[in-house]
Subunit: 310 residues, 2 copies
């Protein structure tokens, strides 16, 4: 658990533990870009992790995820807790992706060293997003951040994987987005520990809550927990305290240890998958793709050949 | 390319080529459930593929994807072409996922043997969704379907992967969904061959088109192609012909062959990844996850051990 490291690396890890922001920023960039030295660093830091509360915030685009994350950070800071924010949604104002968005407001936190913000949006289609996000959250955990907020758009397998990695997963809904409940997909229903109805002052919020209650009523409770529904108006900061309280109630109710073993199974699977793909030389992949496109080979035989070789 | 197969299997492949719907349905189920016999079948059918036009339709939930797919199928049928529909979005009425949705209307096609509909929604979080979807599209291609429509919700890496597998990718947008362009993420912008603005009779459609034009103006054309913007009112069937025409113009402009080699690189990568993960015994994964959750081991060392073993 304590591999021999060169002095420069050891000191980076030590500086991170001591709360050095520049060291943390440098390490975050190395982790984000999957650089080889990040691996040794994460191995060293890993025993320090497991203390933070990792909260995943997911929901459709326009549900108000960044605004809620912003408010949760504000509440946590007012309690004297340190915060880390990881934005995985490329449309998030945290990621600079929102065009008409409220990017300026988010920058209020930038002046506060108690809030460390990092966006994973730039990874784009490089793959390994879930693994990189996990490592970044672990890094923030090792750096002593009390509350880590991960914002991810809640549609798609990768995003469901990321949301599942959190200790507590919040699923956000808003009234009046097309067919309302159409945005609630089965996969998302299953991963929600707490439901948050945003823009709860709008017409349609009551009926959305009733529909949600009805759906929850027919689902069996998971490990004795029935996800509560918290109503908020995120732009006004209303309800953020209640959301944080509900997240903490969940953490107490769900034996942290049991849940985390399940999380680690998902994490290890994702890490393994990412490493395995590195074994495939790009030139070989391209040549095979040419052959298949021209129907000189079939793709199933190509995969069989590759599997036999490793 | 013509492996020796047992008679029953050969006859299933032959019946599929001859347009036998029951044989096609049986094969589709085998492919969807990743059954071993599906592999041999797909190997046999592969040389017959590459004739259909595979159109991917993607966009946020509520953008009207299923309604457009429904209309595109109607237009293609009126031209005398056979159609295959694969719905990957679990909220799609084709998948039975829409709760308040217009599932009934979609069932009009069920009486028409010229439209074969299959939903991949049930796979949920089983993984390998992109690979299974690709195989299903290839199966429909081998079965002689002229036009294959794949509907997938356009947020998340898996969905972007699926959209990329198509010959032509349509990206749907609607005015007035929150911050409009917020729904257009960088990844989606890059994969669009044709943009479709749905609900084009609504206020906000003009400004959405202007914003889109502005974004397209600053992007360099990809392989000499600048994605056109087609306005539709999908619920009234307005604009569906124009969408199909734009998709075909793209296919003529983009050298089919070159693009397809790129597609196959993505497909092979996904297939390889799926097969590699099968090498990891679930019991071993669980034991390792317990160790990591209890901090007896670090995850990076676990992955290193697994990599050394294979």
């Amino acid at each position: 658990m304590a591999p021999v490291l060169e002095p420069a690396m050891t000191s980076l890890a030590e500086r991170i533990q001591q709360g050095d922001l520049r060291a943390l920023a440098r390490a975050a960039t190395a982790v984000e870009n999957r650089r080889p030295e990040a691996l040794a660093l994460m191995q060293e830091l890993f025993p320090l992790t497991g203390r933070a509360t990792l909260i995943g915030v997911t929901g459709a685009p326009g549900a108000g995820k960044s605004t809620l994350v912003d408010q949760l950070a504000r509440v946590a800071r007012a309690e004297g807790r340190s915060v880390g924010i990881v934005a995985v949604d490329p449309t998030s104002p945290f990621s600079g992706g929102a065009i008409l968005g409220d990017r300026i407001r988010m920058q209020a936190h930038h002046a506060d060293p108690g809030v460390f913000i990092r966006s994973m949006a730039t990874r784009g289609s490089l793959g390994g997003l879930a693994a990189a996000t996990t490592d970044l959250a672990l890094l923030l955990d090792a750096a002593g951040r009390d509350t880590i907020l991960v914002e991810t758009v809640g549609v798609g397998q990768d995003e469901v994987d990321i949301a599942r990695l959190a200790d507590v997963t919040l699923v956000m809904l808003v009234p009046g987005m097309g067919d309302d409940v159409q945005a609630i997909k089965a996969g998302i229903m299953e991963i929600a520990d707490v439901f948050v109805i945003n823009k709860a002052d709008r017409p349609g919020a009551d009926s959305l809550e009733r529909e949600l209650q009805a759906m929850l009523g027919i689902m069996p409770p998971r490990d004795g927990w029935r996800p509560p529904i918290v109503r908020v108006v995120a732009t006004e900061g209303k309800g953020a305290e209640e959301v944080l309280a509900a997240a903490r109630r969940y953490q107490e109710a769900a034996g942290k240890r049991t849940r985390r073993a399940g999380l680690w199974a998902a994490r290890l699977r994702e890490m393994f998958r990412e490493r395995l793909l590195e074994r495939l030389p790009p030139a070989e992949l391209e040549a095979a793709a040419e052959d298949v496109a021209a129907r000189r080979k079939d793709p199933y035989s190509v995969i069989n050949e590759w599997m036999e070789r490793i």
